[in-house]
Subunit: 279 residues, 2 copies
């Protein structure tokens, strides 16, 4: 790869930020931009297969900072068993890609259910089932608390503290947490919980929180600097907690997706330096 700017030594492109790119295209884009790591998604990996994706990344000299994503563990019965099987495959894929971090979006309320405690219990049971399997393969389950606006339909884990309450039941090498600025920036308890997280921090993801939220609230994730979050305090907090891994930029945004991906990477590098590292 090209000689990197040392300030970019732990910067990672989450593949969703350049959604139109295949895995080989995103890998080549990272090389051109001097970005040393990439967070992969299962769907584009499946398009070329795990082995080919792993080879593309390795040949380019990149790291895989995470695989997105497993989870959706709140169903019961046959659907619940199918979800466990799918998560075991995701763990295998993470191992095959050479990353120790599998991000889990745990799932919302099953259709028609209002039993939030029950859904949370099924997540806990599923994590207990999957954690040893992950650990045996050198993969850590990274529980991602999602913004509370997704509690009903995507993740019944809503705060870092709640994710840690669950993660701490398991060995630290089996279950960690994701610190994603978009999801937790509003939390009055966030600094204490990042400090508490310590070695449980399996992934640090950044993007901004935009208002007004777009019609599809999944796409309210903006480029750093375009929204309301002050990033440097989060970078300093995860560092103070002992985190030395990559910082993934993960943006779901229609305007970003409509922009030339090489230009997105150029903007992302500049904003990362100005706002995450030095802000």
């Amino acid at each position: 790869m090209t000689t990197s700017d040392p300030r970019l030594a732990t910067l990672s492109l989450n593949q969703m930020t350049t959604r139109s790119w295949s895995v080989p295209e995103a890998v080549a884009g990272c090389v051109r931009a001097g970005i040393p790591a990439i967070g992969l998604w299962r769907e584009p990996v499946a398009e070329i297969g795990v082995a080919a994706a792993a080879k593309a990344v390795a040949d380019a000299g990149l790291r895989v900072s995470s695989l997105c994503r497993g989870g959706f563990l709140t169903a019961s019965g046959d659907a619940g068993r199918a979800a466990l099987d799918d998560n075991r495959r995701a763990i295998d894929e993470a191992a095959g890609l050479g990353t120790d971090c599998l991000v889990l979006v745990v799932g919302g309320l099953p259709g028609g259910s209002r039993d939030l405690p029950g859904a949370r219990q099924r997540v806990a049971d599923a994590v207990a089932e999957l954690a040893p399997y992950a650990g045996e393969r050198g993969v850590r389950l990274a529980l991602e608390p999602l913004h509370p606006m997704y509690c009903a339909d995507r993740a019944v884990l809503s705060t870092l503290g709640q994710a840690l309450d669950l993660a701490e039941r398991f060995p630290v090498e089996q279950v960690g947490v994701v610190v994603d600025t978009f999801h937790i920036w509003w939390d009055p308890d966030v600094w204490a919980q990042i400090a508490r997280a310590g070695a449980r921090i399996a992934s640090f993801q950044v993007c901004d929180f935009l208002t007004p939220l777009p019609a599809d609230v999944l796409l309210g994730r903006g480029m750093m600097g375009d929204g309301h979050i002050e990033f440097a305090p989060f970078r300093r907090a995860v560092e103070a907690a002992g985190y030395t891994g990559d910082t993934e930029v993960e943006i779901f945004n229609a305007d970003v997706w409509a922009t030339d991906p090489d230009q997105v990477l150029a903007t992302m590098k500049q904003r990362y330096v100005d706002l995450v590292l030095e802000g």
Copy 2:
């Protein structure tokens, strides 16, 4: 007023649920429906004046369960002083209407600011300024934690615990909190915080959380039963905490607003009995 169903003895119509109605129309609607209390909003009250609104309510034999709303206290300088003046007027209006509960939506980040701790500090300073003024007039400031999706633009108080941390700095008769199911249903700590709130609970508001959220996320508040919240545990929790006041139904929803208001009240009564009281 008409003889009420005893099950409706503490039911209140928040005026925003029947947005097209003036104060006299909403009062008459409550009388027709046998609903004994009403939560008023400042703007429709201003259309006829505080004295006329107070007389309309009193003549009908209704209670005023709250006045919505003061707040928006995060600006500094001239705008901050103007906000304090406006809140003093809101306190006077609450007193004039015969309610001891002024709901405060505390405000989001000032335009262009990313200083969330600073905004929270200005809220605390403003509440300290207003609380004695309110107390002297027999009015309690009811701090409303809003759903975290509104943190940037409407309220930097996002959890009941955070609202209580602030409220507890003041005498209980001066500063309380609002328990609104829409805003806090997702919170893993909500039951402990309702128990902690005890006599600080100044208002209990119910409506459902809908998905997908509408394009204007302010309008995601649905009729009970149309969304994801299980209501009866919240009603039991506030009762266990000692709350004996009214349950206000406050819905912001384009479909509800397009429905005949008398029909809205009929549905609201039925859902209240089925899902809040007995669910």
